[in-house]
């Protein structure tokens, strides 16, 4: 039901309807923001990218062919913007940012709690996955995308989606093991 509504909104946006753009933005911007934030790991950058993503939707609405759900199409645009932003950032800046993040996490009360709470430990490990692994885990579990949809967003074959998810989960087990939790898998 919602997919049809999104398609109608896209058709209206293609005709230059600003109200339709507001409705589409209100409906999807939080999820798109969270997807981008998990990739770029910087709130200000993620917020800037959101307006770029929706500006692209405004510009390209007339080219949308309805081959995928609108939300899948939007996440594909968001991913492209996030990866482009990451490529633009100097490597040194990224390293410093990563180091800062690790230091911050060390002081985070949640990290201290994680030593006792398995759920918090698992969340900590989910944050520590590589960008490639984080995106597939988020797309499958949080954005509820099928194998086919993930393949479309990331631009890889469906078999590779399954393999990547397997290795992401395997890495999660390794990270948990380093923190003292043996899941007995793989």
């Amino acid at each position: 039901m919602q997919t049809t509504s999104d398609e109608v909104l896209i058709a209206r946006i293609a005709g230059g309807d600003r109200l339709a753009m507001q409705v589409l933005f209100a409906r999807h911007h939080v999820r798109v923001y969270r997807f981008v934030l998990r990739l770029v790991r910087n709130e200000a950058t993620a917020e800037d990218l959101i307006s770029d993503v929706f500006l692209d939707i405004w510009r390209q609405a007339g080219k949308f062919e309805g081959r995928s759900a609108v939300s899948t199409w939007m996440l594909g645009i968001a991913r492209f913007k996030a990866l482009s932003a990451l490529r633009r950032k100097p490597e040194q800046e990224l390293d410093e940012e990563t180091a800062k993040r690790i230091e911050d996490e060390a002081d985070d009360p949640e990290t201290a709690l994680a030593k006792k709470d398995k759920g918090a430990l698992l969340r900590e490990c989910l944050k520590a996955l590589s960008a490639e692994h984080r995106e597939v885990v988020d797309l499958v579990y949080y954005h509820e995308k099928s194998v086919e949809e993930v393949a479309g967003i990331v631009g890889i074959p469906e078999a590779t989606v399954k393999t990547r998810m397997f290795y992401a989960r395997k890495k999660l087990s390794e990270l948990l093991k380093e923190r003292g939790i043996d899941r007995g898998w793989p």
């Binding site: 109200l19 923001y33 959101i50 007339g62 989910l126 499958v140 509820e144 397997f166």
Partner: protein, 224 residues
């Protein structure tokens, strides 16, 4: 186990994350269900997938949202765009979309508001019916109401099987003396009170384990 069986098992195991998220086709979901029922080791691994699923939702839901300036920035950029010439579309989908696009913004706004109100009403009715039926189904003394104050008790996050009817859910809640505390949340989850009193983690874990065996329950995890 022969080579073919091993290949089938690893193929089914690769589908577990999508089974947890409810995004498999019916045929694949049936294959996974059958394999889970027949293979205790696969069922144990599925429990790990469910943990990951629950914690990924938890993690994303705590990420916050962009500020109100995000929309302002977007429309400032849109204002700076050159005026648009509507594209001509000849396919059926395009013509249907064009019809809707022909409606005035006011009509669209009314339709959107009406749809939102209908969804809210429906959610409210379902939640009210579920909570009311649970309340009237249990024993209640004149002096001590059975419903504990909000926030007290032990809770789980539950997603019911897609084929479960409202009647099935009501009966399930009554039979177990559970009540819905809130929902539906992201991913079709409901926060369900499984005990009026706070429970030790081990007891709550045992309840979750028991519920994982219920056909009506598609996903269950502990929550605060």
């Amino acid at each position: 186990m022969n080579t073919v069986e091993k290949e089938t098992q690893s193929e089914i195991e690769a589908l577990l994350p999508w089974h947890a998220a409810g995004t498999l086709s019916r045929a694949d979901a049936r294959r996974v269900e059958e394999a889970l029922a027949a293979d205790p080791e696969l069922a144990r691994r599925y429990a790990l997938v469910l943990d990951e699923f629950g914690e990924t939702i938890h993690l994303n839901e705590t990420l916050g949202a962009p500020s109100a300036h995000a929309m302002e920035k977007l429309f400032a950029k849109i204002d700076a765009e050159p005026a648009r010439r509507p594209a001509v579309s000849l396919n059926l989908g395009g013509r249907i979309a064009e019809f809707f696009a022909g409606l005035s913004p006011r009509t669209l706004a009314y339709a959107g508001t009406a749809a939102a109100i209908a969804i809210l009403l429906q959610a409210g009715i379902i939640a009210t019916v579920m909570m009311k039926e649970v309340k009237t189904g249990g024993y209640e003394t004149a002096s001590a109401p059975t419903n504990p104050p909000p926030g007290e008790g032990a809770f789980t996050l539950i997603r019911f099987a897609p084929q479960a009817t409202q009647d099935d859910v009501t009966k399930f809640l009554e039979a177990n003396k559970f009540s819905v505390a809130s929902g539906p949340l992201a991913g079709g989850l409901y926060k369900v009170r499984v005990s009026a009193a706070n429970l030790p983690k081990s007891d709550l874990g045992a309840i979750v384990k028991k519920l994982q065996g219920e056909k009506i329950v598609n996903f269950v995890a502990t929550t605060e």
